[in-house]
């Protein structure tokens, strides 16, 4: 039987984390292919519905990543994202979602190895946890 491969959706801000992922590419830093990146202009642009929809559609893990507070192109986007994320976390925890499945990171352009590392970590954790309990059908 094929090994379970978790599906991860990563919402990455254009100015920092998306760029960090680009530089991971230029530097040929390899990481697992389980992640699909969705570009947003700012982590403050991430609406909770994007995360919930990802889980509805069967994502096993979601990463919300953007600039550090001092780097934000739009000044306070990371803080706004944090405020949204805190509420979202409470709600998905209530649904019984394990903590590792929804992750928030601040990764700047110069931190591409950290981007790769975060993906590695998530894949490893999710492989242990198995498919998301929020999937339509967990048991095959």
């Amino acid at each position: 039987m094929a090994e379970f491969e978790p599906k991860i959706i990563a919402f990455c801000c254009n100015w920092c984390t998306y760029a960090a992922a680009d530089i991971a590419g230029t530097s040929r830093i390899h990481y697992p292919a389980n992640v699909r990146i969705v570009r947003v202009m700012c982590s403050g642009m991430v609406d909770p519905i994007y995360v919930l929809k990802a889980f509805e559609m069967g994502a096993d893990g979601v990463l919300v990543a953007g600039c550090h507070e001092i780097d934000c192109h739009y000044l306070n986007g990371p803080l706004k994202c944090d405020a949204m994320f805190e509420k979202l976390k409470r709600v998905v925890n209530m649904l019984g979602l394990e903590d590792e499945r929804l992750r928030r990171e601040m990764i700047s352009t110069s931190e591409s190895p950290i981007f790769a590392q975060v993906i590695e970590e998530m894949v490893e954790q999710l492989k242990k946890l198995g498919p998301s309990p929020l999937r339509e059908r967990v048991k095959v």
Binding site: P48, I49, E56, M94, L95, P133, L134
Partner: protein, 387 residues
């Protein structure tokens, strides 16, 4: 099912085109694009396609102001519900407020393998692992983080409900994995997911051995009572907490306010789902009147004439919705009451939302204290109550 079937099933061909529905409809009063009569007429005249793709199909609040007084007894809300089901199959769903997150959460609650952690709010409440009485909390725990910042605490309503049940000598069961009742999904056309939710809830409640289910949310109550029997079997007595209270008023010792609530004059909003849907008007009033030191003054439109709080199922919430709410809040203020008492968490959320004004230049000042009836009662019972 197609549109012809829906028309046959709901007997909407009896419509006289008299227009009474439109003149009573709170949405039509503010939104000239919407008229129950015209929507129906389109279906009857074979313009089903236009109807299905018209965003106004999702503007109806299902408040029953129309059908209650329709001379042909046309059930416009159920007709709308069924056409919305057709429409959702074609990708139409109106404009979802809060980006559709609430409906998404409700859909997620229908997933088979979830093990929710939804009982943190029970901390300090007296419940029982096995009881004949079940308290159905519904979406309250999920609404809490989302609506905290407009000063609505759905979890407090739940806690106060338990406190009231305790005062009646009941330590109810609260199920750890109960699902949303499905009201909002049913009314926005997602019958398939609604069925799943109904099946899960029915199964869990059967296994629990409960004989009686108490609700503090009229939408949950209505859905279990009227919509569930179509899809599942559930052999339980169903009550709104105010019904239970009204039956047992003599056993309760209600004192004139203590704590810091300082309430003297109140007015009461009949929730559509409790009032016109289920015909429950008197029990909440009996209870309010039973609290010494509190005077109840009715709004201009009360009881069966009550005006809806303006939004249903988080759909098509817009400037018209706010106008409906402002109209109702002005009626409330005109009674001279300090507090608007509601018996539905949705009413409370929608009225409080209308009072949010974070702009630099404020609009109409319609701030008023809004309180759920269980909070009013829990407070009058003395001891600790949650606000």
């Amino acid at each position: 099912m197609n549109l012809e079937d829906i028309i046959k099933e709901t007997k909407t061909y009896y419509c006289l085109e008299c227009g009474k529905c439109t003149s009573l409809c709170p949405v039509s009063r503010h939104n000239s694009n919407f008229s129950p009569r015209l929507m129906l007429e389109r279906a009857l005249m074979g313009f089903g396609d236009e109807l299905i793709h018209d965003r106004e199909l999702f503007s109806c609040l299902a408040c029953y102001a129309c059908s209650d007084l329709c001379p042909s007894d046309v059930d416009y809300p159920v007709f709308t519900q069924k056409v919305r089901n057709l429409a959702s199959g074609q990708g139409e769903h109106g404009d979802c407020a809060h980006s559709g997150t609430l409906l998404s959460l409700m859909r997620l609650m229908s997933r088979p393998d979830i093990k929710q952690r939804r009982l943190d709010w029970l901390d300090g409440c007296h419940t029982s692992e096995k009881s004949e009485v079940l308290y159905f909390a519904g979406c309250a725990p999920y609404f809490q983080p989302i609506f905290e910042d407009i000063e609505v605490s759905p979890v407090s309503i739940a806690r106060n409900s338990i406190k009231i049940l305790n005062a009646l000598g009941i330590e109810p069961m609260v199920l750890p994995n109960e699902r949303c009742c499905g009201h909002d999904l049913l009314w926005t056309g997602d019958v398939e997911t609604f069925k799943k939710l109904a099946q899960f809830n029915a199964q869990m409640i059967k296994e629990s051995g409960a004989k009686k289910i108490v609700f503090s949310c009229p939408e949950g109550y209505r859905t279990f009572k009227i919509d569930y029997p179509r899809y599942v079997e559930l052999d339980c007595e169903l009550m709104h907490i105010t019904e239970l209270l009204a039956q047992n008023l003599s056993t309760l010792s209600l004192k004139a306010k203590r704590s810091n609530l300082e309430v003297k004059r109140v007015t009461y909003q009949d929730p559509c789902r409790l009032g016109r849907h289920l015909g429950i008007y008197e029990p909440p009033r009996e209870i309010i009147k039973a609290i010494p030191g509190i005077k109840l003054t009715e709004m201009e439109h009360s009881g069966a004439e009550s005006i809806c709080c303006g939004t249903s199922a988080w759909t098509n919430c817009g400037s018209y919705s706010k106008q409906i709410r402002e109209e109702r809040l002005l009626e409330a203020r005109a009674t001279g009451a300090e507090v608007l008492v509601t018996a539905c968490p949705k009413c409370q959320i929608h009225f409080k939302c209308a009072m949010v004004d974070k702009g630099a230049e404020k609009g109409t000042d319609i701030e008023m204290k809004v309180m759920d009836i269980v909070t009013l009662i829990a407070d009058a019972l003395g001891g600790k109550s949650s606000e």
